[in-house]
Symmetry: D3
């Protein structure tokens, strides 16, 4: 394994430097800035005291996510989705993924007829924005539920599992963890993995953009992801001051 082969000089199994800043903005019930190297996402969790129509009167809660990128979070400026009047397919795909992942983390039956809105807004992009969003949103959601519990509105944080997410991929023939933008734009295979603290899978989304990958390749990628996610969940718990 040649460590120098990655543009960043990182070992193949190394995460970028991860930083989680809680209470990043002041209005939201949960607000986290997650930095994964140069990728920076503001994740806020907002509690609304009602549920969407299809759940009214069922006594359970809902959790949903939205995702956006500031127009110049990227190398060249993208059009603003609000100005174009619609969200791209990519945006919708990502926010559906974040929503499903976080709904697996919490027990929707256990926080009453409320909606938790997660907003993941990328202020600087350098690869891995969707997985950073999931990892950061986990912490923001936890904080929001803590506040509800502290106010006595729910008996406990309705936690099922911690979840975190990471990308893995094959860069120049080499399976690597946590791709940055340079790697991401040049890789053959890209896989986003979401797992729980029990080491189980919530989502696996692998795409061969260049050469298709075989079963052995997939296994190596899943090994990398599994280890990386275990580390991310440790960092989430540290940030929250929870014993791992």
């Amino acid at each position: 394994m040649t460590f120098e082969a990655r543009p960043s000089g990182r070992p193949v199994d190394a995460l970028r430097t991860i930083r989680l800043t809680r209470d990043y903005t002041k209005h939201a019930e949960g607000s986290v800035l997650i930095e994964c190297g140069d990728t920076k996402v503001i994740c806020t969790a907002s509690i609304e005291e009602k549920v969407p129509g299809f759940l009214k009167g069922k006594g359970q809660g809902w959790l949903t996510a939205e995702y956006g990128m500031l127009p110049r979070s990227t190398h060249s400026r993208m059009d603003r989705e609000a100005a174009k009047g619609k969200q791209s397919g990519r945006t919708q795909e990502i926010q559906r993924l974040i929503g499903r992942s976080l709904r697996a983390a919490f027990d929707l039956q256990a926080f009453g007829e409320r909606t938790l809105h997660l907003d993941c807004d990328v202020i600087q992009a350098d690869g891995g924005t969707r997985t950073a969003s999931i990892t950061g949103a986990m912490v923001a959601a936890y904080d929001a539920f803590s506040k509800l519990a502290a106010r006595g509105l729910i008996p406990a944080i309705p936690l099922k599992h911690f979840v975190a997410a990471i990308s893995v991929g094959v860069y120049q023939g080499m399976p690597v963890l946590d791709l940055d933008y340079v790697e991401d734009s040049n890789c053959d295979t890209d896989m986003n993995v979401v797992m729980t603290d029990a080491g189980h899978f919530i989502e696996v989304q692998g795409t061969a953009e260049g050469a298709a990958f075989d079963r052995a390749g997939m296994n190596r990628l899943l090994d990398l992801a599994q280890a990386g996610i275990a580390d991310l969940i440790k960092l989430q718990k540290q940030a929250l001051g929870i014993a791992g």
Copy 2:
């Protein structure tokens, strides 16, 4: 293994009856009705003699896909997307998946500045519409390129691999192949797999809707998918009259 456990009585590793009808409609360069049990999708391939702006003058082709469901293809009537004025996130996610999968099947450099449009329209839905779309679109695209080649517009069919797709999932604790609607609505885990005739992966999209799945579970699902896709590719080649 109790074969009776599936609502359809199918063995866990059995595909539904698959039928591929070529030349289903008369105008398209390729037109295939694919029936997977009660799921029926019309897949058409249309050649357009130009490429999108971002490829103009690069001497290569493009392939893109769109997906739709007739409003009453489903158990209860859905709103018509054209009337609502937008495609749902699910629709966009599916058509992006079909497009990526088929772009892996053909060599975009080898058919000139043309666009192949794949339209997958579900006329009856009973689970697995997105994987049926990919499997059917493969045949429609092949037919369209055959016509181009027959007219001498391209030297040969720009085939890289045959691709086909299938869903697998965990239904009542049991890993099963090719979920129908009843299974799909009640399963814990749902995975859509796209593979080539070389047995390599193009796409893996697994989601734990109920209990998260472990590594062993994933392995059993991938085994089922691999065998199912091999069978589907045989059926594609038979339909096209190609020696497997």
Copy 3:
């Protein structure tokens, strides 16, 4: 009258071959594939147990129609309306026509606060898709109401009249019945006529695309339409097993 003058070789007063296939798809209360020569339309009738806001509490029902064409139902591929985010003026005009025509066929007072949705989706177009839609939707609606009656939800099928529709036009100076695409694109005058089994008019929509037509011309066109519609209504009743 030179019979050879029509591209299809049909006599000027001859319908194309009409086929009505009931129960074409399995979920809808009524589902009919109508084929008029090479024009093929799936007409489904769906019962919804509520009415639009403007009828709430009035004790009556509503009937409405939507129309669409698969992108490659036509000679060259059309843009998908769902992707463009709006229905064309032509589409809206046609679905308004289908709705008005079928509301004339049934007694809206006699089936409770329900909505009958008619979806007419063209899978292959060769002229006359709007009139085929009306003729097919009549049978689908009849089937849907039969099911409601069979379940005891309404006392009887709320039928006022059978209705059917046909196009007539002036092709190369010659008034002809049931224009196919080649005739339609080259005709001077095009008229769509909707009539009841009592021989009365529901809709007459005539347009001079080339030379304007005089009163005598209009009379000949209406004669052709009247005879053609009488035949279509016989076919509808045969398909439904109703004595004419």
Copy 4:
């Protein structure tokens, strides 16, 4: 025939008072206020020095129409279409009708690569807004082409025929000409007819909203329309100072 039977006291074959005011607004090449009783429509004709993409380089012109109603032109206020973000099906149907009718009046080959835009904006509605729009737009278009000719940009006004339009209908069993709002909302059959000064038909759009109409009824309606339109064309020519 009881003349008193109409709410307005008009004889069954009487038009409302028609007034055509040319040069109603100052910027447009042609600008006409048409008043048909209490129905008032501003019709402007604007010349644009280019054609739509599908006609570029073909050396011919184009003519297109748009239609709108001020929100409080009607008895109760309607939502503003610009605010709702889309034109209704009715609006689109009407503007397509106006466009087709006026394209029959002028020779598109004879005014160069220009577009004539007709804007018909209803400032007060009392029935018959679409037919008033056509009749008024004819005069506005004539004025616009006169100006082009006067400037030497075209050799002559590219006139094929004068066209005008009127509604006829069956009000309380009685065929009547030029329905006002009270009649229109209570009639069984409503027919809009567009004819040339040669007495030929351009468009016939008849709808049975209540009882279907038979062939004899249709004939009586067409007689009324034919006479009414002949009068309207006289008024158009008078307004333009042209010998009839």
Copy 5:
């Protein structure tokens, strides 16, 4: 002060000829045509017997405004906003300004749970359409409330102040009142001022399109506006037959 310097020859402190025609259209509760020179705006006031959601049950009323221009109200034809599917930023800015201005004129607490809709539709534009809209809408709103009071639905017209609006600007170095189109397109500074009959400001919106303006310049502009608005309010009261 050189009077000849303005293209119109008006003195710098002279309004254009103002005409207010009440009951201009017949359906609206208040309907006023305001003409300021060649600028002509139809202002209608419509009473709706309900309030927007955010005010339901609060016992107070609401007042809102919409603004539009006929496509050929301007020198060259503009695209129709209803056809484009959205209102421009300029349109929205103007209708927000009209709404705020008129909400300052009436006591929202004093006319029950009703909405007053003001529609300002420009039929001919020659500069100053937004200020003409406000001045005209004041009279239309007054008329609508008079009708409500006359029907005994409200005890009195809920008037707080008369309001009127005018533009002022710096044209070729010279502060002038009531800019017409030629001046408006060539001025350095443009200010729209809305004031009450007590001489107080409701809105001041000044923009330096060319050279920025200093404090002294602003003072001269406000002086001009103050005098002009006093005159406009006199004209409003005269039109309404109210002693000033």
Copy 6:
């Protein structure tokens, strides 16, 4: 003057603490985080090597601005404009204001056929987001032009004036500078002022939300704004390392 009267305890003529952080994100040519008390806006300036269609071939540049708020930048969560599919009237009004203000700061003739896009995204709102956007965008634009000049693409920074903006208002009868959210929601009059470093006005937008304001009141507000903006421009120049 009672200093305690403001909720923040600030003197009536005191700005909040202002912080300008340059190079806040890494991709944009100019990127500034401006903090005005608890209001935080990311302002980026992006150079695009082309101009909008209406300026093509004229040899000059363009400058345009967009504005957005993260959904939970505010006290309660707002709907995401990209998800709703349109920008509100308020958003459009603000971005038009930012654009006009900054176009006054730079010489559009002096930077070639390029567009400077300013994106002002509010990550935390506490009143005064539009004026903070202008003040911050000034610095970001300056940085972007510096880079162009440093690369030799333009001879010099095309600066006309420094501009900055501030809000003033009447809070509980007292004219105050730089309103925070609590003051802003309870004030009678709110005025946004944009000025140059020469002390001239670019924009004045005053609105009486409660009691209308008289001329003396306006003068006191303008005095406050003038002093505040002079301070802001000093801070901009300090941040840029420019001698004032």
